[in-house]
């Protein structure tokens, strides 16, 4: 049975002495949502998670679970379970004891403990490992046990603090899928912290992008990809990251601005309020939105000098620069032997325009 819970952060603040690291965050998480906090190191995402968990005191604002203020409720009584980056398994206990510890602490009956532990072990396929100690497990198995320890407590909310960052790439992909399936099967509210935007894009119902203790944008993964609210989000979401080029507004074609990028003319397909003739702006163009061959309706930039290419098999990454030495990454499908000088093609509808303060125009 799903025990989905809504979570509300109202004017959430964290201070260490005089230093404020979380600055008045407001966030609404709906019951059953899989929310990912993503951002670079030091952005405050783990601190935010630990405040929600009850492991860090809340300096200001309110934390509401299903509308009830829980700022002063102990971590163990918030109905949450947490999976740590380092797994944080009890090294001296068997897997069974690790899973049972929380239930034993709560004074559950032995047969209840056994039933719940076996149920969790069954879900995570770790039944054969129940008698082993953590040191006898691989990284992936340890992570499963850590998740199992959360499951047995039947929490209302699951919290994950970069749970996959200690795993190798292949296992990370596998565990990513398993956590997503777990969310689908259990239906609980889950909050997941990561610095890996691929994890965020593939797992989240809702992504919260954080920077320096501020929320940069909240939205569905593709919303953030297609309509980033600012240059930071545009650069953070997407891999390889978005190219940013400096352009000058040289005129208008009707109400559509005409830009000059290192001597190349590009006409935007829509009016952009705030762009005045003669001003300089930053445009963004994703690597995968550029091609090496023309298509109808596309615009072109010539005299692009290639520095390096990386052949990934299904995709070729080209590291290049414009005549004005602005760096570009171009991601083209298939295998190519790219010459030193190339011409690139793109749909101008894919161009993002940013104001001087980083806002998307």
């Amino acid at each position: 049975m799903s025990q989905a819970t809504s979570i509300a952060l109202q004017n959430f603040v964290k201070r260490y002495g005089a230093a404020e690291v979380i600055h008045g965050i407001d966030l609404q998480i709906e019951p059953g949502e899989f929310v990912v906090f993503v951002g670079p190191s030091g952005c405050g995402k783990s601190t935010l998670l630990r405040m929600i968990a009850g492991l860090e005191p809340i300096s200001g604002g309110d934390l509401l679970l299903d509308g009830r203020r829980v700022n002063d409720v102990a971590a163990s009584e918030r109905g949450m379970a947490m999976v740590f980056q380092s797994y944080a398994l009890y090294p001296h206990m068997s897997v069974y004891k690790n899973l049972a510890f929380g239930l034993e602490t709560a004074g559950a009956a032995k047969d209840t403990i056994r039933r719940k532990v076996e149920h969790a072990a069954n879900i995570l396929q770790i039944t054969p490992l129940l008698d082993r100690k953590p040191k006898q497990l691989s990284g992936g198995q340890r992570q499963r046990v850590a998740i199992g320890r959360a499951i047995v407590r039947e929490p209302k909310v699951f919290l994950f603090d970069e749970p996959l960052s200690n795993l190798d790439a292949e296992l990370r992909v596998q565990m990513r899928v398993e956590i997503a399936e777990l969310h689908r099967d259990l239906g609980n509210t889950m909050i997941y912290v990561t610095h890996d935007q691929v994890e965020a894009m593939t797992m989240a119902d809702k992504i919260v992008v954080l920077k320096d203790g501020h929320i940069m944008q909240v939205g569905a993964p593709l919303d953030l990809y297609n309509r980033p609210a600012n240059r930071f989000v545009a650069g953070f979401i997407g891999s390889p990251h978005m190219n940013f080029l400096t352009a000058r507004v040289t005129g208008r074609d009707g109400d559509r601005p005409i830009l000059d990028i290192d001597g190349q003319t590009v006409t935007l397909p829509r009016p952009v309020p705030g762009l005045t003739e003669g001003s300089t702006t930053t445009i963004g163009l994703r690597p995968e939105h550029m091609r090496l061959d023309p298509r109808p309706g596309m615009q072109t930039m010539t005299d692009i000098h290639t520095n390096l290419q990386e052949s990934l098999g299904g995709q070729t990454l080209v590291y290049a620069q414009t005549p004005g030495k602005q760096r570009l990454i171009i991601a083209v499908n298939g295998q190519h032997d790219v010459p030193r000088e190339i011409e690139i093609w793109f749909d101008p509808a894919n161009i993002h325009v940013f104001a001087e303060d980083g806002r998307t125009l």
Partner: protein, 318 residues
């Protein structure tokens, strides 16, 4: 023509450089020989000052030797007498075992308690650590033993304090029933060394394990019993072995407090004190040597027992 090594290293020929002492040694006597030359100072010390005297004392333990005449071979006589006809030996073993079994667990528990307290992110930790460690540096000194005698004598500080509450205390060090316990308290007071090791062990336990336990609803007390203590067992084991050996070897406090007699009525007759009396009081070097070897066997037995039981209660993470 350049040497091969110079060509290989790509540095070209080097001018004639005088070989170092090590190079000349290696060339003259080979690498193994050179190793022994460098090892010699330690090896000489070990053979002359440790192994030699140890083996000589083993020989002496089968003799009658008074430091003046030549040792006279008596076979197993010393050992037979110790085992069958020496009430003082039995008394000293009883006193020493009581001292070991009381002082070691109490000292470890006290040291662990202080370490846990200091591990709670206390301000001025370094200062407290130094202050708490101080007794360990001073504790075995003669001055502290004399101070201890003053504290627990009939008109000492302890009775002075008890007198404030109308209690007329005995002379703790001259009463057979309490004398040994004053030495146990002195031993506990020297908790600094195991405390420092406990503190280092506590620092090794990852903080997120406690956070996981907190999320699991474990109180601080339950965290201590179920997380801290089991994860600290390797350190407890180490401290227990070292402190047990130290306790068996305890000598100075008993010597000073009892004036070298082990009194009152052999109440503080530590094994080492009895050994000292036999060796340097009565000049029975052969008998004292036999006592020393028996102490070695007793300590070896306790240490071996500790190691054999360790697999059942000591948790090693890897």
């Amino acid at each position: 023509m350049p040497q091969t090594s110079d060509v290989m290293s790509g540095l070209g020929p080097v001018p004639n450089v005088r070989p170092t002492l090590r190079q000349r040694l290696v060339r003259g006597i080979g690498p193994a020989g050179a190793a022994y030359v460098f090892l010699f100072p330690w090896l000489a010390g070990f053979l002359v000052l440790t192994l030699g005297p140890a083996l000589y004392s083993l020989y002496l333990s089968f003799t009658d030797y008074d430091l003046i005449g030549a040792p006279r071979w008596t076979g197993l006589d010393n050992y037979t007498r110790i085992a069958t006809n020496d009430p003082k030996f039995a008394a000293s073993v009883r006193v020493t075992l009581t001292f070991v079994l009381l002082s070691v667990p109490l000292k470890l528990a006290f040291a662990l308690g202080i370490a846990v307290m200091l591990n709670r992110g206390l301000k001025g930790l370094t200062l407290y650590r130094a202050i708490f460690y101080l007794p360990s540096l001073l504790g075995t000194s003669v001055a502290i033993a004399i101070l201890w005698r003053q504290l627990f004598s009939g008109d000492g500080l302890v009775n002075g304090i008890l007198g404030q509450f109308g209690i007329d205390g005995p002379s703790w060090i001259s009463t057979p029933d309490t004398a040994l316990y004053t030495l146990v308290i002195l031993a506990i007071w020297q908790f600094g060394s195991p405390m420092i090791i406990f503190l280092a062990g506590l620092r090794q336990i990852p903080g997120d394990i406690y956070e996981a336990a907190e999320m699991d609803g474990a109180s601080k007390v339950r965290q201590f019993w179920r997380i801290t203590l089991p994860l600290l067992t390797p350190v407890i084991f180490f401290n227990a072995v070292v402190q047990t050996i130290e306790a068996f070897k305890a000598f100075t406090p008993a010597f000073i407090i009892s004036g070298g007699t082990g009194g009152p009525i052999d109440a503080t007759l530590f094994y080492t004190l009895y050994l000292y009396q036999e060796a340097f009081g009565y000049f029975r070097m052969g008998y004292a040597s036999a006592l020393a070897w028996i102490l070695l066997v007793i300590i070896a037995f306790f240490t071996a027992f500790s190691f054999l039981t360790a697999r059942y209660w000591v948790h090693y993470d890897d």
